[in-house]
Amino acid sequence: MPQINIKELLDASVDALKQAALPHIPEAAGALSFYIIQNSERLAGLADPDLDPEYVKERLALEGDILTSQLASFEVFGQRLAKDAQDATVQSIITTFLTILTKFIIAA
């Protein structure tokens, strides 16, 4: 089995995470640092010569899934902020609409 280029894999995952982590979301900033450390330790661990090469191959195949999950968490952080904004907007729209409707009902 060819030697794993840990640095190359890690750099690629860090790049992907940095692109998705919005710096103004506190959860994202904290998670980004955490994921980078976690990915670094996990990928470095795969270079352990005591591991079976077939096992290493299997676990490398899961790296894309793990990155997918990490990126999805940034999506959740962002959507939570969007939800707060949307809640306020929806409330405001409903209030405005109800005011108009009340006038309509009174006039009818």
Binding site: E27, A31, F34, Y35, Q38, N39, E41, R42, G45, L46, D48, D50, L51, D52, Y55, E58, R59, L62, D65, I66, T68, S69, Q70, A72, S73, E75, V76, F77, Q79, R80, A82, K83, Q86, D87, V90, I93, I94, F97, L101, F104
Partner: protein
């Protein structure tokens, strides 16, 4: 009557747009229990016994708990990002269990690497749940 119906339909429409994430204490509890159970496997393996049969019931319990999280997310109108995390968690846990089952016994290095893999699969889902307020 027609106008009242239209009004109700409009409000329902506006509310149905609000489908991002919904806080759930039950989900958080199940997730935390699953994570604690998964961690307990590796704590116990540190004592030296790494034979699969010792851990089979805990593996199965964690699998049931994370399946339950996924099913709850499907029914609680959760967003697709949470569902994606659930699917990854289920896939990774299944890979971890299948490997151990197939080998029967893990060496210390593999057990430690499996712990790191488990942590990496649980962390995003836990962080997402914690962020939902």
């Amino acid at each position: 009557m027609k106008k009242t119906f239209l009004f109700i339909a409009l409000i329902a429409g506006l509310l149905s747009c609000n489908k991002y994430t919904v806080q759930s204490k039950v989900q958080m509890d199940i997730l935390e229990r699953a994570y604690d159970n998964a961690k307990s496997i590796y704590t116990q393996m540190n004592t030296g016994n790494r034979a699969y049969p010792v851990y089979e019931s805990t593996y199965n319990l964690v699998a049931l708990q994370i399946d339950s999280v996924y099913n709850n997310d499907l029914s609680r109108n959760s967003n697709s990002a949470l569902l994606r995390e659930d699917k990854v968690l289920i896939k990774v846990w299944s890979a971890i269990q299948n490997y151990h089952r197939g080998r029967g016994q893990l060496n210390a290095a593999t057990a430690e690497q499996e712990r790191k893999t488990m942590e990496s699969a649980f962390t995003p889902r836990l962080k997402s749940e914690q962020s939902i307020k």
